[in-house]
């Protein structure tokens, strides 16, 4: 097998070993340097949440679970920290059984760091089985009509943070943190009808779909994946801290370079082998 063929047929086990090393090294080293550039959609998300009036709450809607924890958890933590630093009350709800526990633990951890109290500064509504469209449509009309108790079974009207929340007029913003395409339900049934700002925190692969909504103004900001979380941490004053988001941003950088190099190598081998061999039939395209 000559070098041209070898370039196109590197054993996938070698590739897997290399990518594992490329990603693991920055994650283990934990560089503290955050991304230098902050995207405009991340800045808009920050501005939107900073402007929420203190007499209103923010709903943090978490659709993520352990599978996408690596991308969505840094976003969740950055948003929670920002809101607690601004003394903005928030209510978390989870649409994933496992994610419910994870999001609660995240809020407890950050609340403890900043001296904030459950019930007074934030509330967790626990796991909600759905369907999203019916619940979102209903909560705009009556928040406590749809959500009656928190995750511990305590009535929302007995909890200081939520006792005065009636409907959309008491909700200052919604943050949707999701690995799936659930933001359209919030846009259709909450943001558009009631004109409540909506910040979208998707995994990076979902973020490409959000640009039409950002352009039309239906989304007021976006954190694209863990990179967005790292940029958001820069905005909330964590730019010199050794966070997972910053380490992941550098791990992603190395991985992207590695993939680009592989693609170039593969295409180099392909282009050179085409010159030296007669053309075979191409693959099927659908």
């Amino acid at each position: 097998m000559n070098i041209l063929e070898k370039l196109q047929t590197i054993d996938r086990r070698i590739l897997y070993l290399l990518i594992a090393a490329v990603i693991a090294i920055p994650l283990l080293q934990r560089p503290s340097r955050h991304p230098r550039i902050v995207f405009s959609e991340v800045k808009n998300a920050y501005t939107t949440l900073s402007k929420v009036p203190k007499n209103k709450i923010v709903i943090i809607s978490c659709v993520w679970g352990p599978g996408t924890r690596a991308e969505n958890e840094p976003q969740t933590k950055a948003i929670i920290k920002h809101l607690l630093m601004e003394d903005t009350r928030f209510v978390m709800l989870s649409w994933d059984q496992l994610g419910s526990q994870l999001t609660y633990e995240d809020a407890v951890e950050i609340g403890k760091q900043l001296g904030k109290r459950y019930g007074k500064d934030w509330v967790h509504l626990g796991y909600n089985p759905g369907p999203m469209y019916a619940i979102i449509r209903g909560l705009g009309k009556s928040f406590t009509g749809v959500f009656k108790v928190d995750r511990f079974g305590k009535k929302l009207k007995d909890i200081p943070a939520t006792k005065n929340v009636r409907d959309y007029r008491d909700i200052g913003a919604v943050v949707e943190i999701t690995p799936s395409g659930t933001v359209s339900s919030w846009i259709a049934y909450f943001n558009q009808p009631y004109n409540v700002p909506l910040v979208f925190c998707p995994t990076a692969v979902m973020s490409a779909e959000a640009y039409p909504y950002l352009d039309s103004g239906q989304l007021d900001g976006m954190l694209n994946g863990v990179i967005g979380a790292a940029q958001y941490e820069t905005l909330i004053g964590m730019e010199n801290e050794r966070t997972y988001a910053a380490a992941a941003a550098w791990a992603l950088s190395c991985a992207h370079i590695f993939i680009i190099v592989l693609i170039v190598l593969g295409n180099l081998g392909y282009a050179l082998s085409r010159r030296s061999a007669p053309q075979r039939g191409g693959g099927r395209t659908g």
Partner: protein, 276 residues
């Protein structure tokens, strides 16, 4: 009508709650029995009627604004029961949770009973199901050392096994992306070359190292457009956005058409044409 809905949806406690639960179950069974006793000829008509009425609620609630209702003050009465409808839908969806568990029990129970191929995997399902359920309940409702041990067991099973396994499966994608990109991304035509160039720019634009590569270019003026983050941003907010919008419109119209067909019982196919 509205006051009836308010009465029926008011919170209940004690014997009233029990009565309402059993009453709802009895009415549900009665409706199912009625449906089963209907002649097959009329079953489809009944299903079509119920489907139409259910969809009609949402259509009327959204399409007709308060000003068109002959009520004083002007309001849409269907909107007032929206939270109730949301709660009812939640309850119905919650049954799906039990249905999922019931199905798993049936399938794996059959496999263990018949000692089918790989039955030990089904046995592992039962062991893990009852282990995490037991640990979860005991940690919240037991006291003393039992609660402590249950908490540790739950933490091992939940954080150690469940969340780690879920995250591991997702992490496999990183490896598969490498092998898929390496194998499949060949520049066989001009369009493929353009796609590759765009993909490369966006991959670099989204990560910190991309900004470092072109950091030497000025941040204002003509040459600033060649900074990788600017090029990536333009690609995402111009061609990508246009394409996403076009696809979204097509999908939305397709969804509307299918929704209309199902609502008006016009949908065809083996499932919809079958005898009930």
């Amino acid at each position: 009508m509205i006051s009836f809905w308010h009465w029926i949806s008011a919170p209940r406690h004690g014997w009233q709650l029990t009565a309402f639960i059993f009453g709802a179950l009895a009415i549900g069974c009665g409706v199912l029995a009625l449906l089963a006793s209907t002649t097959p000829r009329y079953r489809k008509t009944l299903v079509a009627a119920v489907t139409f009425l259910a969809g009609l609620y949402y259509a009327i609630e959204f399409l007709i604004p308060p000003s068109l209702w002959p009520l004083d003050p002007p309001r849409n009465p269907f909107s007032e029961v929206q939270p109730l409808v949301g709660t009812l839908t939640q309850i119905i969806w919650s049954f799906a949770l039990f249905l999922g568990v019931w199905n798993l029990f049936l399938i794996h129970g059959r496999a263990v009973a018949k000692r089918s191929r790989g039955w030990y995997n089904s046995a592992a399902f039962f062991i893990s199901f009852f282990a995490i359920m037991g640990a979860g309940l005991l940690k919240d409702y037991a006291h003393g050392p039992v609660a402590k041990v249950s908490q540790s067991v739950f933490t091992i099973l939940f954080s150690g096994f469940l969340t780690s396994l879920d995250a591991t499966m997702f992490s496999l994608i990183a490896f598969y992306i490498v092998s898929a990109a390496y194998r499949a991304f060949r520049v066989k035509s001009l369009e493929a070359g353009l796609m590759m160039a765009a993909a490369g720019i966006i991959m670099l634009a989204l990560v910190p190292v991309g900004a470092e590569i072109t950091n030497w270019l000025p941040s204002t003026g003509f040459l600033s457009a060649l900074r990788v983050e600017r090029m990536g941003y333009w690609l995402l907010t111009s061609p990508n956005m246009a394409a996403q919008r076009a696809i979204a419109f097509g999908i939305a119209v397709g969804g509307l058409a299918m929704g209309l067909r199902i609502w008006l019982s016009l949908e065809r196919g083996n499932f919809f044409d079958r005898q009930l």
